[in-house]
């Protein structure tokens, strides 16, 4: 077992305004990854404002006090860099990887939109990006078969009022109602230096980054009273499964089985991660062996299971299968449920456990093989667990999971009474 999943140096500091800065030097390639995690996600959105955190992420690319509209992209790409941002229920991250000589440019751009977005935000920009996001919703969720599965699973897993009840993309109605003042307030509330972690990995030194961070971010004011998201750590059991069946324009029946497990970062969720890999990752997994190969009721490319790595409430475990031609949704659903049930009754063998841990090890080192992968990981651990060095613990924790722990968790959390079942049926033609 490796002692550490992060065998690179980590240096940290905190500016007077509360901005945490994390640096990991690596001179292998002449590139640096710059990554900002803001501790704000769709879990912070009140009713009527779903989709706002994500729409806001779009606005962050549309100019700030010293950066003209669309100039952010142009400057990073003009420097040879790659960039993007993502929003999920937990947080919003912004990141760019640039040739090392452009580190200062990237930090200047990030500081300018952290401290100077509001004066540059216009109604025209908001209207334009609202349209872009509505098109994103159409393209990713509405115009593809099964595209709304995640939108349907969340309210089945989490009750109204829970911070994970609604999806990050939001509703069309709420997006339509978004007004400029709300977004200005959103930025003032959450985009404060003391609500963010700046991580830089690559061809630089901690001293250089700390100096530049102070130069560009040091003048920004902290915000004292950043409101917390609703507490979602306890989800009351209902004592009965949540079942939804959708008839839609889909090419074959598909079933999702989902459960609430533990928050990402806890020992319980490490068990979930290994359990999900045993259950549904690769051709040697139980779902593939039983449903795709054995009974041959599921399509081989479309069977699997995974945990969704959310840290602020019991995170979902999702297993899914799509029917082979001639196989009914009922038969598929029973088959899928049976394999999940057996995690509690049929012990995971040493070979199954070793296979899962080997796949997870490769997955971990793949994430670590690029400076951007490492920067995002350090930002996550600093934001969610207060210490980037805890990133080193994840892989050893996975490798320490036992078959008994998997059986115990399956018995405790994956029972039929706690189950969410979402079934898609093709329309009658």
């Amino acid at each position: 077992m490796p002692d550490s999943g992060f065998p690179w140096p980590i240096e940290t500091t905190r500016l007077d305004n509360g901005l945490r800065v994390v640096v990991s030097e690596d001179r292998t390639a002449p590139a640096v990854a710059v990554n900002l995690w803001y501790d704000v996600g769709s879990r912070h959105e009140p009713a009527g404002q779903t989709g706002f955190a994500h729409l806001f992420e779009h606005l962050m690319f549309e100019g700030s006090v010293n950066v003209a509209k669309t100039e952010h992209m142009k400057l990073i790409q003009g420097a040879g860099g790659s960039l993007n941002a993502t929003t999920n229920p937990d947080r919003t991250n912004y990141f760019e990887t640039v040739p090392a000589e452009h580190l200062e440019l990237a930090l200047w751009l990030e500081a300018d939109r952290m401290g100077g977005l509001v004066p540059a935000l216009t109604q025209e920009t908001l209207d334009n990006q609202r349209d872009v996001v509505k098109n994103e919703r159409r393209q990713r969720y509405e115009n593809v078969p099964y595209g709304d599965a995640w939108l349907r699973l969340l309210p089945l897993l989490y009750p109204p009022g829970h911070p994970y009840h609604h999806a990050t993309i939001g509703s069309m109605a709420d997006l339509n109602a978004a007004d400029l003042a709300t977004f200005q307030e959103f930025h003032s509330t959450y985009y404060a230096p003391n609500n963010a972690v700046l991580t830089v990995v690559g061809d630089t030194t901690a001293a250089e980054v700390f100096g530049l961070a102070d130069k560009y971010f040091g003048g920004l004011a902290a915000r004292a009273d950043i409101p917390a998201a609703p507490d979602g750590r306890t989800v009351p059991a209902t004592g009965r499964p949540a079942v939804e069946t959708v008839t839609a324009d889909v090419p074959a029946p598909r079933v999702y089985v989902a459960h609430r497990t533990h928050p990402f970062g806890t020992p319980g969720y490490d068990v979930t991660t290994v359990l999900a890999t045993v259950l549904g990752s690769g051709r040697g997994s139980r779902l593939y062996q039983r449903l795709a190969d054995g009974e041959r009721i599921a399509q081989p490319d479309l069977v699997g299971a995974y945990g969704v790595d959310l840290a602020h409430a019991p995170a979902p475990l999702i297993a899914t299968a799509t029917a082979r031609p001639g196989v009914s949704a009922e038969r598929l659903r029973d088959g899928l449920a049976e394999v999940v049930d057996e995690l509690a009754t049929v012990p995971v063998t040493a070979a199954e456990l070793d296979r899962a841990k080997a796949l997870l090890s490769t997955m971990w080192w793949r994430q670590m093989s690029t400076v951007d992968g490492r920067a995002d990981t350090l930002g996550r651990y600093a934001t969610q667990f207060g210490d980037p060095a805890r990133a080193a613990d994840r892989l050893p924790a996975w490798l320490a999971v036992t078959a008994e722990q998997i059986a115990e968790q399956a018995a405790e959390l994956l029972g039929a009474a706690d189950r969410v079942i979402l079934t898609y049926l093709p329309e009658e033609k």
């Binding site: 590139a31 003009g78 000589e101 051709r283 593939y288 070979a351 796949l359």
Partner: protein, 447 residues
Amino acid sequence: MSLIATRPGPGAARAYRFPQVVRRTAAGGQVVAAHLPGQNLAVALLLLDGGAGREPVGKEGLGAVLAKALEEGTAQRDATAYALAIEALGTELSTGLDWDSFQVSVQVPVDRLTAAVELLAEAVRTPRLDPADVRRVRDDEATALRMDWANPGPRADAVLRAELFGAQHRWGRPLYGDPDSVAALEVDDVTVFHSEWFIRPGTLIVAGDLDRIDLDALAATAFAGAGGGPVERGGPIDVPLTGQRRIILVDRPGSVQSTLRLGHPSPHRAHPDHVPMTLAGTVLGGAFTSRLNHLIREVRGYTYGIRGDFASSRRFGRFAVSSGVQTAVTAPALVESVGEISRTQLTGVTEDELEVARSWRAGQLSVELQSPRAIAAALTTLVVHDLPDDYHARLREQLLAATVEDVSAAAATYLHPESLTMVIEGDAAVIRDELVASGLGEVLDHT
């Protein structure tokens, strides 16, 4: 609040370096490797001359079916035992094909590379190919394609390809075939394709810490039992332009977006104007900051994204624009897209735009070539297109040296807005009249 108003300039530029490339002949095959000191992960990839371009017309999807069939058991063990053996090393068998090559690879912590290559070679050289398994894999693949073709895009792509290249040619049909072509494949098609293309040694690509990797031992494993020499790969194909702009409407009733696929033929990969042509494509549609994305997304809000580029293989190429736009704005989005293509062809690019495009393309050679997987892909480019070890360094210099005149000339020469085939997959009943009224070209219904 205080912000620094002055934008900082760049620091001292770092020297560009691509990893050291090692080439050798060993055990009857070629090895091309990149040294990544200290990298804990390694990739080995067997590159075979068995791409889709080798599939006979009417047998589209053969390579994709064979790729899946490789894992249905070998001379030594059945499918389950094989899956457990290779996944116990922490890797799956990754397969991929394009027009020029077939690729099989593994990605593992470096100390497991030898064992992983043994299993890779076992599947490639000695698959069981039991007829019942091959038939089942074929049927599964046909079903998988049917699932995929229920999404917007694959049908439009296929229609565009057939229009550009002619469905009588293999390269005028979909790269992975279509549900019907795959369903019609016979067991013999698969076994013959394997014996024809998967027994030749090919090239072993390795990306990893070569201080911890024995390349000769890997070569001996990868090439054991292989035989047969290289086969003539054929020269560039001359694809005529249509000279006539047309709209082909693919009906997708109820679609909330229209899928746009616009294109025309363009030069093959080894064409001397490859670099300026690529940069013209970048300015027009290849980057987030491109003309098309700026206008159609950032100004109009018609789409989540639109891109256009020149893509090429050894024998042919194409220019294409693709997007998904809200149904109600299908015609204006199309008109404005064609307008940007025409404007770029007529008036070329500006220095301001080109500065971003060449810096971006050059910088990507540092930024995106980090992981063993990305380095292995870069090595396959060297092999497939017969390029030298210092190709990436020279490409970087060519990109940075390209002038407005070079790139504008390439735009004028290789963009053909008058010959665009415009495939629109969407709700025909809603969008047909507007498309006809746009006056962009004759509107045909795909049947």
